[in-house]
Symmetry: none
Subunit: 204 residues, 4 copies
DNA sequence: CATGAATGAGGGTTCATTCAT
DNA sequence: AATGAATGAACCCTCATTCAT
């Protein structure tokens, strides 16, 4: 039973979604500061005033955009981490999930990294905080998965938080590779490589 | 005997250096687009016109800044990678060197990541190319060190390029940690952790 | 019935016209380079941004100004030259028309001469070409009128193009006189003098 | 006995002349407002400070330039008008002299017209007045030559001032022609045409 | 006396945001 | 509710001019 929204409301939501999609495209392509509100409004085929009816200013629009996408992604990854498999499987699934997510949406990826990796210092405001919390939550979940692995004697007795940090670094690094040259460095094909390297290290 | 420069020239160089330092501080704190040339000039205590005598425009100033720092860092790391130690030592030294470098200059670190990790898509133009080449060179060097490790049967027979990518991801990830909370996550203290994790993996 | 334009459009047009009028006054009084866009906006009682909504830059505004006026004048003169009277009458009418036109608008006159007589080398760009063509067309028409006069044995067998050049010089020269001291040298009153001198020369 | 100037003075004069020559080239090519003092200094191979030792500001330099050239030209034309030949000869000589002068120096010609024909409203200041006086003097001389022609019954009983105006218009008009396309409309070759048209008119 | 580094007012232009219709 | 004309602060940059060396 989802259709409780009156038509008016549904229309509004659709408009909002269109605006966000257009903004994502433009921001991702040209960067926050090189996209004007007029440009967004025009490409989304709305009047500038209408855009401002939906988002109180440019920053707000940007924040809404990032938070929507980040929420979506983190939910997916969170789900993977919540499944009660053995640790090795969970980690492999996590690495794969990250691959699938980003393969779907390159534009978002760029913004996501800009935000989660401090490059966002370009854009003002409390975004850092909000998205930071979201990210922190994910890392915590990952940490507790790894903790479980340690307790079950599958993983070594290293700081599980730092293990999580390491895994994030590993996967992101390969994602950058893929972003720069998707054909030469297909992320998905490298999932086993990443997993293997993480689990076994590089030493013979 | 370096003082062959006439005093006028030395003064000029000092002024240039001061301007660059001020710009670094501001860019690092607020981001390229949120810093105006007037702001830089004022904080550096020069007239706006003087700033433009030294750098033909804002982008040029930014580029000079980035390239100077990036050049410096890459040289240091390159030196470490060139020393003819056994692979394990070299890698440990590399990880340490990265730590020392960045411990010296947080502001630069932020810009450096913004540039080498694509968050720079905010700033236009040829910078990507120039700094990209520099970075590529470094990764290549790292790759050849790892190759050596493989040939000498110290490292496993994995793609050495991907090993390098992994190591970069690992170290950067810990650097971010440190950037966010230097006291709780001292990078230098973690050098052994990183090295160990990279070499041995996390599996028991 | 011309009022098919919606009120909004009519207002816009009126605003544009006001801006152009203000710009004409200022340019004519002080010269292109000594008038700032801010000055124009302020005198026209619009915000600077509004000015830029109508004209994409200063040069564009200037060009719009010149071309509008030049088009108008050349059309009037062209009409006179097209009427099928005998040559002498046509020439007299032409000289008179020039008088009437310019008597109406001294400011424009200044700009017009600046542009048609090369003083415009101060302002860049394609204007020269556009207005040049317009002027050329006019001179051609004048030439063909004079040619007709020659064929009908009313005028001497001189190069008709040079005759046209001579007539232009004659009239413009008197216009300058008038511009400098309108009371002492009323152009209109001199129309017979000019006509007579052109037709009969000064020799007894 | 001209060498009374000490060497220092002579050098200074030479420098001044070089500066003026460079400025003339640049102004003529690009227009007053599109040439910077630095540009002049650099092209003349002097320091900017030196330029300012010779001319107290840009306007002053421009004025010095114009006045020097205008003075020179007007002197030549004045000499022609002072010779005691019959009117027709004098007029023909005058037209020829104008040709010779300008053939020598196209750059100056452009500036000269900009100044004597009101296009100079671009540049501020008292120049108008000074050069205006010079020009007025010339026209007066021309007028008195024509007056003489009338008194001696060679010329018709028209207002001699207006005759002068007419002659100026005629010659200038042909000069413009020549400026635009020197090959197709050689001024010198047209001296007889101009003279003839002025004296005899175009009527059969 | 020549030099050229330094100055800063002022110019052209953009764009986030408002508000009358 | 939707529109888009109007706004003006703020930006990047130029260049005439000064003055310590």
């Amino acid at each position: 039973m989802k259709k409780k929204l009156p038509r008016r409301e549904r229309e509004k939501l659709r408009h909002r979604t269109e605006m966000l999609a257009t903004a994502l495209d433009l921001f991702s392509e040209k960067g926050y500061h090189n996209v004007s509100m007029h440009e967004i409004a025009e490409k989304a085929e709305f009047a500038i005033g209408t855009l401002y009816k939906f988002f109180k200013n440019k920053e707000d629009l940007y924040k809404a955009l990032i938070m929507a996408k980040a929420g979506e992604y983190h939910r997916i990854l969170s789900d993977v981490l919540s499944e009660k498999n053995d640790v090795q499987t969970t980690l492999k699934d996590y690495i794969s999930a990250k691959a699938k997510i980003f393969a779907d949406s390159v534009p978002t990826l760029r913004l996501y990294f800009a935000e989660t990796h401090g490059a966002s210092f370009n854009i003002k405001a409390g975004l850092d905080q909000d998205i930071g919390k979201l990210y922190e939550k994910l890392v915590k979940q990952l940490t507790s998965v790894l903790e479980r692995g340690i307790r079950s004697k599958v993983l070594r007795e290293l700081d599980p938080y730092y293990m999580a940090v390491a895994l994030e670094g590993l996967t992101n690094s390969f994602l950058f590779c893929w972003l720069e040259d998707p054909d030469r460095h297909p992320y998905e094909a490298n999932v086993p490589v990443i997993t293997d390297m993480f689990l076994n290290g590089v030493l013979r």
